[in-house]
């Protein structure tokens, strides 16, 4: 045990002095959320402000001498109408970005509307501007609703005439459940990625790095066993991975607390995450997951001859981690006895349920048990791999 602690302490010191590992392990996870949040917040508020300020410049060709729609559009606060007479010119102005949309009120519009028929309107827009069609459509819908109401009244009917079924939707889920199921899918995905990233650089540095720097032989000629060397180094890889994930959680917590304009329920969930019970449960799942990651990465880093080779082997593995984590994000994928057995997918789904407050104990236990089993299997594989001279001295 003493030897393991000696090796782990030395590797920790060595790791903390490696700028590359330090950036990936401490700086990136701490800063990533505050940076993302402040950037998104800034972009969002400036986009909303811009959107509010910006009037939709719309060319209006009224082929029907007099009608309420033209008046409605001219007076609409979101529109800046420009009277035009030629459709080709209208199209040209939209293409050149001078106008964002164009409305052509066809001949006989008011007569048709007055006779309880449909008045024809053509809307010109460029599909390259994502919001234009929706904005014009919602403005026109306002006019349509007004006309419809007038028609109903003129016919002596009640508004319920056009609404034979009046539906009221009652949401029984709490806000925590709703946001938990949504944000809850996203958060574990991040933990998983950070755990992986946090393990990757130390694993490469501690194994491939030792080979590349030609220090491995010296270590192998010391009286410590290979198992002790492996366990000592693995402890550092696992701890680095957990530190990265915990720092990412802290960064997230701090950015949510300090960013204004967050929904209360979202802030509540993130604050709730830092409750002792949640963090302990999360660590209980993250610990075997990181051991599992280390158990997969270490044999590959032992096999690789150089830092570059190790990086090129491990980087594509990120996709193998992202895919199951994304599966956990998909709507409709729930934690069941089957999904609780699939590594990464299970932790993603279980965390989602935990955040929503709907986790079932048996499924949580299956998740933890399967994660521990995978971790144990990967360690056994790792030990066997590290015992082979052909891999170490490749």
């Amino acid at each position: 045990m003493n030897n393991i602690i000696t090796i782990a302490s030395k590797e920790f010191l060595d790791t903390l002095r490696d700028r590359r590992t330090l950036i990936m392990m401490i700086v990136v996870p701490i800063l990533i959320f505050p940076l993302i949040f402040s950037l998104v917040n800034k972009l969002q508020s400036s986009a909303i402000q811009k959107e509010r300020q910006r009037l939709l410049a719309t060319g209006l060709i009224n082929l029907d001498s007099e009608n309420g729609l033209a008046v409605f559009l001219n007076n609409h606060p979101d529109l800046e109408t420009v009277p035009l007479y030629d459709i080709a010119e209208l199209e040209q102005l939209i293409r050149s970005d001078s106008l964002q949309a164009g409305v052509v009120i066809e001949q006989g519009f008011s007569e048709n509307v007055g006779n309880l028929k449909s008045g024809q309107v053509k809307v010109y827009f460029s599909a390259t501007k994502f919001t234009t069609r929706d904005r014009i459509s919602s403005i026109l819908n306002g006019f349509t609703s007004d006309v419809l109401r007038e028609r109903i009244v003129s016919q002596g009917l009640d508004e319920s005439f056009i609404e034979p079924v009046k539906t009221e939707y009652v949401n029984v889920a709490t806000e925590q459940e709703v946001i938990g199921k949504m944000a809850g899918g996203f958060l574990p995905y991040l933990f998983v990625i950070f755990c992986f990233m946090g393990a990757m650089y130390p694993a490469i540095d501690l194994f491939t790095g030792e080979k590349e720097r030609k220090t491995l032989e010296t270590l192998l000629t010391s009286p410590v066993s290979r198992l002790e060397i492996l366990v000592g180094k693995m402890m550092v890889v696992v701890s680095s991975s957990l530190i990265t994930a915990v720092l990412a959680i802290l960064g997230l917590f701090v950015s949510v607390q300090t960013t204004s304009g967050m929904p209360d329920a979202f802030t509540g969930i993130i604050s709730g995450m830092v409750s002792l019970s949640f963090v302990l449960l999360l660590l209980l799942m993250l610990l075997p997951l990181t051991v599992f990651f280390a158990g997969i990465m270490i044999p590959l880093t032992i096999y690789a001859k150089s830092f570059k080779e190790a990086q090129s082997i491990l980087s594509p593995m990120t996709f193998l981690v992202i895919v199951p984590a994304v599966i956990g994000l998909l709507p409709g994928v729930e934690l069941t006895t089957t999904t609780a057995l699939i590594p990464i997918v299970n932790i993603s789904l279980a965390t989602k349920e935990m955040l929503a407050g709907t986790i079932q104990l048996p499924l949580l236990l299956i998740t933890i048990f399967s994660l521990v089993t995978y971790a144990a299997l990967s360690v056994v594989f790792c030990v066997k791999w590290f015992g082979k001279e052909t891999h170490i001295l490749r």
Binding site: T6, E217, T221, S222, P223
Partner: protein, 237 residues
């Protein structure tokens, strides 16, 4: 004492290699590149396991008592790297701990080595910032910190400049004077001529000559030992 064979899946690397190194004497394993010198020394230091035969170091079997063998040896190669982010002090302390050196004994031995090797000035600098010569001194201190009975040097001067190589030569001599068992591999004849008491010439995994250096000199059929070495190797082809 060693009698060994080693083979990888497709190649027999060592074939019935048999020799003995004694305390207070320097045993040199001489051979061209690819002869099997490194494999032999790796087996002696338990990095590799022999596929047949038995090797005893300081009375311990390399297969059954690997840990005790490693406790008895100091291993140094010319290409040995060091942990560049540590200081010499930290590195030496690390290996002393791994070798189970008691704190008091460690402090005494460290002081002695740092003084002999003139290392005090850079003992707390990061190894990455040291010169090649300084690094070589750190390697020597690392090899000697647990006061091993057997010293294994695998081409210890390869890639070193004259001054750094001189440090190694002095170390090997010093080990002999202190009655240690020294085995070193080389393909540099002048080094062998300068240092060795016993000599084994190895080629293609087989021992071609195994006797004292004096007996090698006496039996020479050419003018100098380099030519004699080439003659012995060529005769075996």
């Amino acid at each position: 004492m060693a009698e060994m064979g080693a083979s990888s899946s497709s190649l027999r690397v060592l074939d019935n290699v048999n020799f003995e190194c004694k305390p207070g004497r320097i045993f040199s394993l001489l051979g061209p590149n690819g002869a099997g010198k490194t494999t032999t020394l790796r087996i002696i230091s338990t990095i590799l396991a022999p596929s047949s035969g038995s090797v005893k170091v300081n009375g311990y079997d390399v297969v059954n008592d690997g840990s005790k063998v490693r406790s008895s040896i100091g291993f140094l190669t010319g290409s040995t790297g060091l942990y560049e982010r540590l200081t010499p002090e930290e590195l030496i302390a690390y290996f002393a701990k791994l070798h189970g050196v008691e704190k008091q004994a460690f402090e005494k031995k460290k002081d002695e080595l740092f003084t002999i090797l003139d290392m005090h000035d850079f003992a707390r600098k990061r190894i990455g910032k040291l010169s090649t010569g300084m690094k070589q001194k750190v390697s020597i201190a690392r090899t000697m910190i647990h006061d091993p009975e057997v010293l294994v040097f695998d081409e210890p001067t390869a890639g070193l400049d004259v001054i750094a190589a001189k440090n190694i030569i002095e170390l090997i001599r010093d080990c002999k004077n202190r009655n240690k068992t020294v085995i070193f591999s080389s393909h540099i004849m002048s080094e062998v001529d300068l240092l060795c008491d016993d000599l084994a010439i190895i080629h293609k995994g087989r021992i071609l000559f195994n006797d004292t250096m004096d007996s090698f000199r006496d039996g020479m059929k050419t003018e100098n030992i380099t030519e004699e070495f080439i003659r012995v190797v060529a005769a075996s082809n």
